[in-house]
Amino acid sequence: MLKRIWAVFRARNLEFVRDRGTLGWNVLLPFVLMIGLYFIFGDTSRPQYTVGVLQQADTVDETAHPFLATRYVRFVPLHDEDEAVRKVAHHELDLLLRLEPPAQYWVNPGSPKGYFVELALRETDPEGRIVKAEIEGEALRYVDWVLPGILGMNMMFSCLFGVGYVVVRYRKNGFLKRLRATPLTPLEFVLAQVASRFVLIIAITIAVFAGTAWLLDIRMEGSYWALLAVASLGAVCLIAMGLVVAARVTSEELAGGLLNLVTWPMMLLSGVWFPLEGASRWVIDLSKVFPLTWMLEAARAIMLDGAGLADVGVDLAVLTAMSAVFLVLGAAIFRWRPR
């Protein structure tokens, strides 16, 4: 019995080791993930409070006021007053400060963290030269904030694996080769895959959204149609991205590795679980290459701030451009059969 187990064990190991692509990703993925997480979350002196500083400059000068040297507070430079005040209302900022005349700070009386940061500010401004303004607003529930992220993540996995992985399986088992012998063109095949997954994932997302919204009384400030438009465009983009990954790969294990390599950074860096504000500049820049970032940004603007389609026009334009590039690239490099 041991002889047979050994024979199968050895054969499977040889298969794994000789499939260079799979082996590479299995080693590389956790390594890259750990390095990435180290740089993103490696800062152990992570601030507990976040204060926005309205100013022109892109960096906050600690010497401009004693308050700006307070420890455990992260000072984020902001340029748009309306946007910054909205964040205070939603408890996304604990306090907003403007040192340029007329000096002023905004705080939400319903925010516990705002209360403590205000005490620290008062400590450094005993004469009360900085005028106080109170901003009313309910704290943004985490569940309201995270729902678009969860739905977006589900779409991402469904689109990328549901299309990418399946196409690789079709190629490996010869079904694509059989289709190649028909008048079907690569573009027709690709479009059919996109359409199929699109209908399925939108239906699933609508059902999950409706159920969650009913159960948890989810906040919805904007238009459902605008949200549907964003979700639709995002789904097309993610499906097309899956097709690019699957355009040539013939090993299911390699496809899995590649898809993980794409999905994990997106899950961590697209703002699924936590806001990226205050993250390192390079993290924010990197997040812009992921379609999920743009989709979530637009969805949250619609759901939480009541934005209209025009307000999220940049996000929609980027998603459209990415979709077009992925679709054309996927069809161009598509291969019906293993080389």
Partner: protein
């Protein structure tokens, strides 16, 4: 008769391997053309080049005198040697899927009936036996009412009964005037189904013609067979060949009476002697030096 398909100097080179080495042939409309050869001879690569699923290193494929293109795809049907179908589809749904990919389409009920799939049409295609699956793959190749059908080793792995049923099915397709290109390593299959064959070995065509004309041109004689152990060293002066794979000695002759007289004088015990006509397997052995099923 019009030439449906013409392969011109097809070459397929893989790193370190010349899989197809200058193959040329033409297929007449309504005929059954067979590519015969052992595994690895280059048959499947040749037909896959023609079908357009494998790019040729060089050479040309013409369909009704024109480079094979969209019209060829539209009017040809293909049964691959190995292929998967979409999972979770029934037999009928599978046929509907493929018929939808063509501008022209055959009556599905007729095809289902012709391929004896009536009782299976609502069964998941993964739950079919080997013979049933081959019939479904042939039905898939027929959904566009093709003028030309490729059958790549269609009966490999089937039991003798299923194989004969499949041959009858191919004969019915031919009766409709459909041209058939068949690859096989079963000489019996080629002899029964094909009007013309090309014997391939090591990527090249080594002989081409109708089965009968090939045998007549190469064998004006018949073969006398005796088990090796009955003969031992008693064949001095008689032309013969030892076929180790079958454990027999073959004696080609054009004068059976004279050969038998000679054998009777030299060999004790001719009870197991057999006289037969040469077949394609013999031809292949003579042309290439190795067995057809090697």
């Amino acid at each position: 008769m019009a030439i449906v398909l013409e392969a011109r100097r097809l070459v397929k080179r893989y790193p370190g391997v010349l899989a197809v080495d200058g193959v040329s042939f033409a297929v007449a409309e309504g005929s059954c053309f067979g590519l015969l050869g052992p595994n690895g001879a280059g048959k499947t690569t040749t037909v896959e080049i023609i079908e357009g699923v494998t790019p040729a290193t060089s050479g040309e494929v013409r369909y009704f005198g024109e480079p094979a293109g969209r019209r060829f795809r539209e009017e040809s049907g293909i049964q691959f040697q190995h292929t998967a179908l979409q999972d979770f589809l029934t037999v009928r749904e599978t046929l509907e899927l493929f018929r939808s990919l063509y501008d022209r389409g055959a009556d599905l009920d007729e095809i289902i009936d012709e391929c004896s799939l009536g009782d299976l049409q609502h069964r998941d295609n993964r739950a079919l036996s080997g013979g049933q699956r081959q019939r479904l793959l042939l039905a898939v190749a027929l959904v566009n009412a093709p003028r030309l059908v490729f059958l790549d080793e269609p009966t490999t792995g089937l039991d003798p009964q299923a194989r004969r049923n499949f041959w009858a099915l191919v004969e019915r397709i031919r009766e409709r005037g459909t041209t058939v290109v068949l690859t096989t390593h079963y000489m019996e299959e080629a002899e029964i189904l094909c009007d013309e064959i090309a014997i391939m070995d090591a990527g090249r065509i080594v002989a081409q013609g109708s089965p009968r004309s090939l045998l007549e041109s190469h064998y004006p004689n018949v073969l006398i067979e005796l088990p090796v152990e009955d003969v031992r060293d008693a064949l001095g002066g008689i032309e013969h060949r030892v076929v180790e794979a079958r454990g027999v000695v073959e004696i080609p002759t054009t004068d059976v009476n004279e050969s038998l007289r000679q054998l009777a004088s030299q060999v004790h015990g001719l009870n197991r002697l057999r006289i037969r006509q040469p077949n394609l397997e013999d031809l292949f052995l003579d042309l290439t030096g190795h067995s057809l099923r090697a």
